[in-house]
């Protein structure tokens, strides 16, 4: 063991982040590794009780063996406006049925109809893909996965916030971090490291414990990031958290503006209210700009006998939410509650190949920390995390034989120890909340975050730069604040990347809508904006998106919506 202050762990595969991507990466590494292969999974909080998936419905797209996988791939690619890794998405779909069977073997129950057949629902923005959901939602899903990892010998380390990746030459050889309660420093030597810490967020969506700092650590360690100009902006209301909008729309809900006029057909003639979230967010922002706010989700078309199914949920925390709101829940949900387009998270992730390997030896990425897709579908973000987690775990095991035995430098670790804990000063005042509020105000303004234009992006960039300078000498009075400070620092860096990439992409696509370049431009922009570090500054490069499997053209009006009563969707 090298000599430095703090504790030390040695492993073969280190997985950072305990959401669906990380849980699956750990499972896969253990399954693909030879007996005795050491796999370690760490998270800032309690694995199985944290992460975006834990607080979701855990809906996931599953392709059955006789499903039209090429058809589903084609519509996912179209739904990403072409910005998707087709090889990766195809493999994720191909493996999805085997994962379903794995989950069932762990004790998960996927919803079935009275005759015993699986219930498979369509999802917003897609036509033939079908979503499945486990009983108990994400909390149960993540907990059962944790429970499945323990007996197969995965080492689980809760409450370890990773603050840096360890390098030996050009290779990543583990990570360092602090215990989120005690502040104790911890170093982990690993032969391969998989970052699964979600995409960066600005503590904006419901799951505000998710901050996605791992992608920025990967960047600092030499990885390239992409999809910074895209975001997941979804309709929501500050009154309550409603995860059932997709189903509500399938049952007859409509987006209406202040005058009570449905507006989605004006923006999306084919899909109307069934368009996916970036398109709804864009329409809402344009309605706002034209003075037609507030906007509402008009659920008056939902028959009375069905309404109670929207109040309450099989997902425990959501059920508590509605139950505690009492009668107010129904009044608010079926009454006039203003909705906004709320920025949930960015789509910025680590550039990898379809095998989930980054450009840096020893470093892989999975979950939403991997930039496989630029869009977020109900059902495919978890579907993708499950699939790319599996692939990353397998690739990490393959790398064990390819990479040299890792060597770590105790002096470097000691330096990281000093650097990590340097801001801790008991007399300091906690300031990260204030900086975060300023950051949110700049980045979430609808005419910066949704309706973009060069002058406003430049102005926002200047504001963020000034906020970043303010951050330089900031201190933290305790470990809780130290963690938040480091997360906020990563957010500021991410904000600069987002604004830079948004300025570079001079077209409109998905959630990236440039008022000064309104049209999609496949000739120039069927490409990723890749962000890498050169000489201490970030550079933006354009990388064409390969299209080995299918066309990226938009799809025409989906068959499902041509039916007179396109509701329900239960097969």
């Amino acid at each position: 063991m090298p000599k430095f202050e703090g504790s030390f762990t040695e492993t073969d595969v280190l997985v950072v982040g305990g959401g669906s991507g990380g849980l699956l990466a750990a499972l896969s590494a253990k399954r693909h590794g030879t007996p005795g292969t050491r796999v370690t999974l760490v998270d800032s909080w309690t694995i199985g009780r944290t992460g975006h998936t834990a607080f979701s419905n855990a809906w996931m797209i599953v392709a059955f063996p006789d499903d039209d996988i090429d058809g589903i791939l084609r519509e996912i690619v179209a739904g990403n406006d072409g910005i998707a890794d087709q090889v990766l998405v195809r493999e994720v779909l191909e493996g999805s049925y085997a994962r379903l069977k794995d989950f069932e073997a762990m004790g998960m129950n996927f919803h079935r109809a009275a005759d015993g057949t699986y219930v498979r629902r369509p999802t917003r923005g897609l036509d033939i893909a079908r979503v499945m959901y486990p009983d108990g939602g994400g909390l149960e899903f993540c907990w059962l996965l944790r429970r499945a990892l323990e007996p197969i010998g995965v080492e689980l380390i809760d409450r370890l916030f990773v603050t840096g990746l360890l390098r030996s030459g050009d290779t990543i050889v583990g990570a360092v971090g602090i215990d989120t309660r005690t502040g104790q420093f911890h170093a982990i030597k690993a032969r391969t490291t998989i970052v699964c810490t979600n995409a960066i967020t600005f503590r904006s969506g419901f799951v505000r414990d998710i901050t996605g700092t791992g992608t920025l650590l990967a960047y600092r360690a030499g990885a390239t990031l992409r999809n910074a100009e895209f975001s997941y902006v979804r309709p929501g209301t500050p009154k309550f958290y409603f995860e059932g909008i997709t189903f509500a729309i399938q049952e007859g809900a409509r987006w209406v503006n202040a005058g009570g006029t449905p507006f989605m057909k004006d923006y999306e003639p084919d899909w109307a209210d069934e368009a996916d979230v970036p398109r709804i967010a864009r329409a809402m922002a344009l309605e706002k700009k034209n003075g037609h706010d507030p906007m509402y989700l008009d659920m008056s078309g939902i028959p009375e006998h069905m309404r109670d199914t929207f109040i309450g949920s099989k997902v425990k925390w959501m059920d508590y939410f509605f139950r505690k709101l009492g009668s107010e829940a129904k009044t608010d949900m079926f009454g006039k509650t203003p909705y906004y387009a709320l920025n949930q998270m960015t789509k910025m992730g680590v550039r990898t190949g379809p095998d989930c390997r980054s450009d840096v030896p020893g470093l892989l990425a999975a979950g939403l920390a991997q930039a496989g897709c630029a869009n977020h579908f109900a059902g495919f973000h978890i579907g993708l995390c499950v699939g790319n987690g599996w692939i990353a775990g397998r690739s990490a095991i393959e790398d064990l034989d390819r990479l040299p035995a890792p060597a770590i430098d105790a002096d470097e670790i000691q330096m990281l120890h000093a650097e990590t804990l340097k801001p801790l000063k008991p007399t300091a005042e906690a300031q990260s909340d204030r900086i975060l509020r300023d950051l949110q105000q700049i980045m979430f303004a609808y005419d910066v975050g949704i309706l973009k234009r060069a002058d406003r992006l430049e102005q926002a960039r200047a504001q963020i730069n000034s906020l970043s300078r303010e951050f330089e000498d900031i201190a933290a009075p305790h470990v809780h604040e130290l963690v938040r400070l480091k997360e906020t620092e990563a957010m500021l860096l991410a904000a600069r990347m987002i604004l830079g990439a948004s300025l570079m992409r001079t077209e409109s696509r998905l959630s990236h809508f440039r008022e000064d370049y309104e049209l999609r431009d496949d000739q120039n922009w069927l490409a990723w904006v890749d962000i890498a570090e050169r000489n201490g500054e970030f550079t933006f490069d354009r990388t064409p998106v390969p299209t080995p499997h299918c066309s990226v053209e938009p799809l025409s009006r989906p068959t499902r919506l041509k039916k007179q009563h396109a509701v329900g969707g239960v097969e």
């Binding site: 909080w45 309690t46 009780r49 944290t50 992460g51 834990a54 607080f55 909390l139 989120t180 309660r181 600005f202 904006s204 419901f206 799951v207 505000r208 414990d209 929501g236 500050p238 009154k239 309550f240 958290y241 922002a285 706002k288 706010d293 425990k316 925390w317 508590y320 939410f321 509605f322 505690k324 709101l325 906004y340 387009a341 709320l342 920025n343 909340d433 509020r437 949110q440 105000q441 979430f444 303004a445 609808y446 975050g449 949704i450 809780h480 963690v483 938040r484």
Partner: protein, 82 residues
Amino acid sequence: MIESIEIDKCTGCGICDVVCPADVIHMEPAPATNTVAGLNPTFRLPVIKYREHCITCFSCEIFCPEQIVDVHPSVKNRPRPW
């Protein structure tokens, strides 16, 4: 946002602290006024340490075996785009 924990009914099991994904609840040595007869002096009880960082996920309330945690269903401190 978390409102309260009925501390006089708390057994000190620490589950609320373990399941909190936002580091809001900390188990801390119980002050003398809160000790429960028959328990040793190192007894720890939950403290709502960083209430403003609660994400209203209800985990503490859902998993509390004594059902003594109350979370208010409010998400009003979210940032708005307009």
